[in-house]
């Protein structure tokens, strides 16, 4: 239906395709119309009115994000009157925003800051009353600060449209409008899954992660502690962006070196425990297959997904793997196997995890994951926080000499690396499960069908003549769609991977903010981060978890075999249905 039409922008004719908005057409022609509430992954809000343009013959300005181009349309993007209106609009936003850029978490990464600079606001005309709300510090993971909110509605939209959690909504009217969870409940009691996507898309600091950097700096200076750190696969694929690099650089070596310079005594790799997770999870899957256990089995690595499952899919608890996440497995091994090895009281260990994820902060606190009265991980910091700490400590991250991770919890296979991308856990699990089940080595180990950013991916393979159907979903919205299918047709799949964030961990809520020329959750950036991990996998000689010699050693020396009683004690757990306040229970489930 699309056809070529002619439009005029600022008095010059251009030929464009019909069926697109003014903004889309202008973007392609190199006119970057200023914008704020617009995000290509989300529905059109039309709220900020920053992207207004003048169209000849129209009485009012039109929002270029929503208005379609027509043949012969004459558009002006930069008239004096329009510039002033746009500037006044941004001024109105600033008039109800704290003037504290220099002490703000988003200083330098704030979209409003950039926008107001580009508007050329030199004087302020309309200052008056400002809003005052308390910060919501109740959650372990996400801080909500309505004072900084400019009501663009991106958080509301991502939480409902992409994540299907519907925790956030605008409340009250007019000047008193504020974004909040239902009944203004504290975040800790709301249905928030702590995925942190609101932080990712927020143009200002209305949503930020709960920061533990100061606490961590203090503890790193405590001589009585043995400081141990692990970092997630996708941290290395993204942290370079915080230092100005393009997405897709694997900064593993620099990160290890920087962490040591920060004061950590041991630097381990969550990729190692990803391998460990595969050993346990693949075995669990095979056991379910062989002993007619509950199928489909669903992965349990993503902490946001686990909270989502407990709240909205408690009927599927028995389908969820009992494996802890790789972070918690590593934490458990640090405070048992490793402390035995170095003969130290586990209580003297400071176990830190650098994660691409905000929900891991929540996970680290879960009582279900404790063993011997211990928490496997004491402090979780995000990629962003880690990058800030490195900068704050004056470490020249880009010029630093790369270093290697420590044994015995560091060495990883390629399977562990790809955990960070959607479909990676499934791919890694199949590599091992196939061999454990058939006794043969899977030759073609790259499963193209479950890679990439398609919302729900399906594949099937044969193991000894038996068809195994698998599915992968990333982003909780896609997950919900997939699980609704499973509820209707439980026999449809055998094994399902779910990641809470779009793109998997590479798109986690703790990853670096988008740069000045990029947008949050840009698909190209996500793909580049994922590619860095797939390249890492391809560059390794060992690409199957069960071939990791340190994993084999760990089983020999400590765990005996997958699913052993020791494994169960340290590496497995059980979840329980949660009924957060304000949720009307579904009678069929509760």
């Amino acid at each position: 239906m699309e056809k070529s039409i002619t439009i005029h922008i600022n008095n010059k004719p251009y030929t464009v395709d019909s069926g697109q908005t003014i903004m889309q057409a202008a973007d392609k022609l190199g006119f970057h119309i200023p914008r704020l509430c617009y995000h290509p992954k989300l529905s059109i809000e039309g709220a900020c009115r920053v992207c207004i343009v003048e169209v000849e013959g129209m009485k009012n300005y039109v929002a270029s994000c929503s208005f379609p181009v027509n043949d012969g349309m004459k558009i002006h993007t930069n008239t004096t009157e329009l510039r002033r209106a746009r500037r006044d609009i941004v001024e109105l936003i600033l008039d109800n925003h704290p003037l504290d850029c220099h002490t703000c978490d988003r200083n330098g990464t704030c979209e409003l800051q950039r926008l107001s600079y580009s508007m050329g606001i030199k004087a302020r005309h309309f200052e008056g009353e400002r809003k005052h709300y308390d910060e919501d510090l109740s959650s372990r993971a996400v801080v909500r600060n309505p004072n900084k909110c400019i009501l663009c509605g991106r958080c509301v939209r991502i939480c409902s449209e992409v994540q299907n959690v519907h925790n956030l909504s605008q409340a009250h009217r007019g000047f008193r409008t504020v974004v909040m969870p239902a009944y203004n409940m504290p975040f800790s009691e709301s249905v928030c899954t702590a995925c942190g996507q609101c932080i990712n898309v927020c143009p200002t600091a209305a949503f930020v992660e709960k920061s533990y950097t100061q606490e961590l700096f203090e503890q790193l200076n405590d001589p009585n502690l043995i400081k141990v750190v692990q970092f997630a696969p996708s941290v290395r694929a993204a942290i370079g962006e915080a230092f100005g690099l393009e997405p897709g650089h694997n900064m593993e070596g620099q990160l290890v070196a920087a962490l040591r310079k920060l004061g950590f005594d041991y630097v381990f790799d969550t990729q190692f425990s990803a391998d460990l997770t595969i050993m346990e999870e693949a075995s669990e899957f095979l056991e379910r297959i062989q002993n007619k256990g509950v199928l489909p089995m669903i992965t349990s690595c993503s902490s946001a997904w686990m909270k989502c499952m407990e709240q909205f899919y408690p009927d599927l608890i028995d389908n969820v793997s009992t494996c802890k996440s790789p972070m918690s497995m590593n934490g458990a091994m640090i405070k048992s196997y490793f402390t035995e090895k170095i003969q130290v009281d586990p209580k003297k260990i400071l176990s830190v995890a650098v994660m691409c994820c905000t929900a891991k902060k929540y996970e680290a606190d879960r009582p279900e994951l404790m063993f011997d009265d211990l928490r496997g991980v004491d402090i979780v910091v995000t990629t962003r926080e880690a990058a800030w700490m490195i900068k704050s400590a004056g470490i020249d991250f880009l010029k630093i000499q790369p270093e290697k991770v420590d044994a015995p919890l560091g060495l990883s296979s390629g399977a562990g690396a790809i955990f960070g991308a959607t479909g990676g856990v499934m791919e890694a699990a199949i590599r091992t499960a196939y061999e454990l089940y058939t006794g043969e080595t899977l030759v073609d180990i790259e499963l193209g069908g479950i890679r990439g950013l398609k919302g729900i991916k399906e594949a099937s393979l044969e193991m000894d003549g038996r068809e195994i159907r698998v599915a992968v979903a990333h982003g909780l919205g896609n997950a919900c769609n997939l699980l609704d299918l499973v509820r209707k047709d439980p026999g449809r799949y055998h094994f399902i991977e779910i990641m809470g964030c779009p793109g998997g961990c590479v798109g986690g809520g703790g990853q670096p903010y988008a740069g000045a020329n990029s947008i949050p959750l840009d698909e190209e950036a996500l793909q580049k981060r994922a590619k860095a991990l797939y390249d890492l996998d391809r560059g390794k000689t060992i690409r199957r978890s069960h071939e990791n010699p340190d994993i084999q050693k760990l089983y020999r020396e400590f765990l005996q075999r997958p699913l052993s009683p020791t494994s169960h004690k340290y590496l497995h757990t059980h979840y329980q249905a949660k009924l957060p306040r304000g949720i009307i229970p579904d009678k069929a489930i509760f």
């Binding site: 059109i44 039309g46 929002a63 994000c65 209106a85 005309h125 605008q170 009250h172 009217r173 007019g174």
Partner: protein, 596 residues
């Protein structure tokens, strides 16, 4: 005082062409000749829609319609009808248009006689809770006519021919809206009746539904047939319990009678209507916000396009019209689009309902042909300003309309004329303002409302109206500054052009229109610290004149002891202490205290 007889002469273009103006002169002369001037009143009306039989003269009481009269007939009419009270049978026209019944009962007084009731034709006539009453006044005959022999395209053509435009405010051509929705292909379509009347002081929709719910249902059902929908929804605010009750009763009765439900009146058309209650947010009268509200989401507008006629309720093509628009439909079907289009002006056809309020003798609900002037409404129907006060302005279109001063009194009521004058038709609020009102304070009042009811979604409306209100507040409190007027204009124009929905786009209207027409009052407030109406208390000083007899009444009521004076001597107000509460002013029996 009531005139004993009222003559209404059609002053529509056709009748003028047929010599009605000459007839009027002859009538006046003849009446004068018989010495009847005191007890006979002559009115002119806009087109009465009986052009083929013009010139038309209606005599009340009795609602006798004379048609095709000539100057030669005048002596006979005056002699026989007015003197002997015997109608001149040969000139009487038999009319059976639907709207006529109302005037048989009500048409003999100024207030009603100058109106023309199409949408409200049955309000005040029939028992709204009885479907029998509605059936007896040709109720549901339009629906039956449509189902018997009209295709959906023909129905739409008839509505187009009528020239009906949306009565919710924007005035979009109704037939075109139907046409666009009908052309969409979809497995499901919806029809919505917008009864979310939110303007303060407006009660057109409530009265229409309370007085004649079946008309609205019939209109909606015809709309459903025309666009191919099977489901209609009336979105009505929960604050209207009686209207809701009557609507529920009407829907039940219609279902019982096979007028809603499967196979209506034995045809193969099936349609049903349900009621959805709104919580009373002003913005939910905006169609996209209304749709969100029905869907169970927060009532906030979304950008258009896509329009609801393409992508509306639950993403399906949806036809939304307001109550008054729907109430016109059965008349258009039965009396014909062509007839309907004879009423009104070139661009605006038919009638418009207004809620007349404020400083006017006869407040109430009126329905007048488009083209009636503001002066006719305020002075002839409304009876003018009470207490001998001077007219200052009329505000049309609800809280987001504009205030028009005396110069605009001869503006005709139609969409374009009102817009050109700087106001809007809106849904039909009309507030008359006399000299006792302060225009700055009035603008502030309306802005307070829209600011409060802003949904908070878009920046200009949320932030801009707040800042405008702050500036207005400081002006009325005597703290206005140089440059405030310019700031109001700058913000107002930006909000008007940049807001997301109609609510925001029209929110600055009261301020911009008063700035245009009453700028001197703003300037007085800011530069001379003076409020000529004496409304803005910070800008008023009370003084005691020599009329004071020293009774001491003011001294005793003053809550801050600001008044001093000996018995039987002129008292004095200490301006430092005075809090300008005005108690002394109202207490003084001798008009000795003045506001300055």
């Amino acid at each position: 005082m009531r005139a004993k007889s009222i003559l209404t002469l059609c002053d529509g273009p056709t009748c003028i062409h047929k010599n009605s103006r000459v007839i009027r002169e002859a009538l006046e002369a003849e009446i004068c000749k018989h010495g009847l001037s005191e007890e006979v009143g002559i009115h002119l009306s806009g087109c009465l829609g009986m052009c083929s039989k013009g010139p038309i003269l209606i005599i009340n009481p009795g609602y006798t319609i004379y048609g095709g009269i000539t100057v030669e007939d005048i002596p006979e009419i005056v002699q026989e009808h007015l003197v002997h009270r015997q109608p001149v049978a040969r000139l009487v026209v038999q009319e059976d248009h639907l709207y006529n019944r109302f005037f048989r009962i009500f048409g003999d007084v100024d207030f009603f006689g100058r109106q023309m009731r199409i949408a409200l034709r049955n309000c005040g006539i029939i028992d709204p809770e009885s479907i029998d009453d509605y059936l007896s006044v040709r109720g549901y005959e339009a629906l039956a006519k449509v189902l018997t022999g009209m295709s959906p395209r023909e129905v739409i053509a008839e509505v187009k021919k009528a020239g009906l435009r949306g009565r919710g405010g924007a005035g979009f051509p109704t037939g075109l809206k139907w046409d666009i929705t009908a052309r969409e292909t979809s497995d499901e379509k919806y029809v919505i009746c917008n009864a979310d009347e939110g303007d303060p002081g407006a009660f057109m929709d409530r009265s229409a539904i309370e007085g004649d719910p079946h008309t609205v249902l019939e209109g909606i059902t015809i709309g459903g047939y025309a666009i191919g929908a099977v489901k209609g929804i009336v979105y009505i605010r929960a604050e209207y319990p009686l209207a809701i009750k009557r609507l529920e009763k009407a829907i039940a009765a219609a279902r019982e009678n096979g007028l809603l439900g499967n196979n209506i009146l034995g045809s193969n058309f099936s349609f049903d209507i349900e009621i959805r209650l709104g919580a009373g947010a002003f913005v939910c009268g905006e169609e996209t916000a209304l749709i969100h509200s029905i869907e169970g989401r927060r009532g906030m507008p979304t950008p258009r396009p896509p329009y609801p006629s393409v992508k509306g309720l639950f993403g399906k093509p949806t036809l939304i019209n307001n109550v008054e628009t729907w109430a016109n439909i059965p008349v258009i079907i039965l009396d014909g689009g062509e007839w309907f289009s004879t009423v009104g002006t070139e661009t605006s056809k038919g009638t418009k309902v207004f809620a007349l309020a404020g400083k006017v003798h006869n407040t109430g609900l009126i329905e007048v042909p488009m083209g009636t002037t503001l002066r006719e409404i305020i002075y002839d129907i409304g009876g003018g300003i009470p207490d001998g006060k001077k007219f200052k302005a009329v505000q049309t279109g609800g809280p987001s309309g504009g205030c028009l001063p005396e110069d605009y009194l001869d503006t005709q009521i139609d969409y374009e004329s009102l817009a050109a004058a700087g106001s809007i038709m809106g849904s039909g609020g009309m507030i008359v303002i006399d000299e006792d009102s302060c225009m700055v304070n009035l603008a502030k009042f309306f802005l307070e409302f829209t600011q409060d009811e802003s949904c908070g979604k878009c920046t200009p409306c949320r932030g801009g109206t707040k800042r405008m209100l702050e500036i207005l507040t400081r002006i009325t409190e005597g703290n206005g500054k140089e440059g405030d007027i310019e700031k109001l204009e700058r913000l107002g124009n930006m909000i008007r052009k940049a807001s997301l929905c109609g609510l925001g786009q029209s929110a600055p209207n009261p301020v911009l229109s008063t700035l245009k027409n009453f700028r001197h009052e703003y300037e007085e407030h800011i530069y001379q610290k003076k409020c000529r109406a004496g409304i803005c208390s910070n800008l008023v000083t009370y003084e005691i004149t020599e009329k004071c007899i020293g009774c001491g009444a003011c001294r005793r009521v003053c809550p801050v002891n600001a008044i001093a004076g000996k018995r039987q001597e002129q008292h004095v107000i200490n301006q430092e202490t005075c809090i300008k509460c005005g108690q002394c002013f109202t207490t003084c029996k001798f008009d000795a205290i003045v506001k300055a």
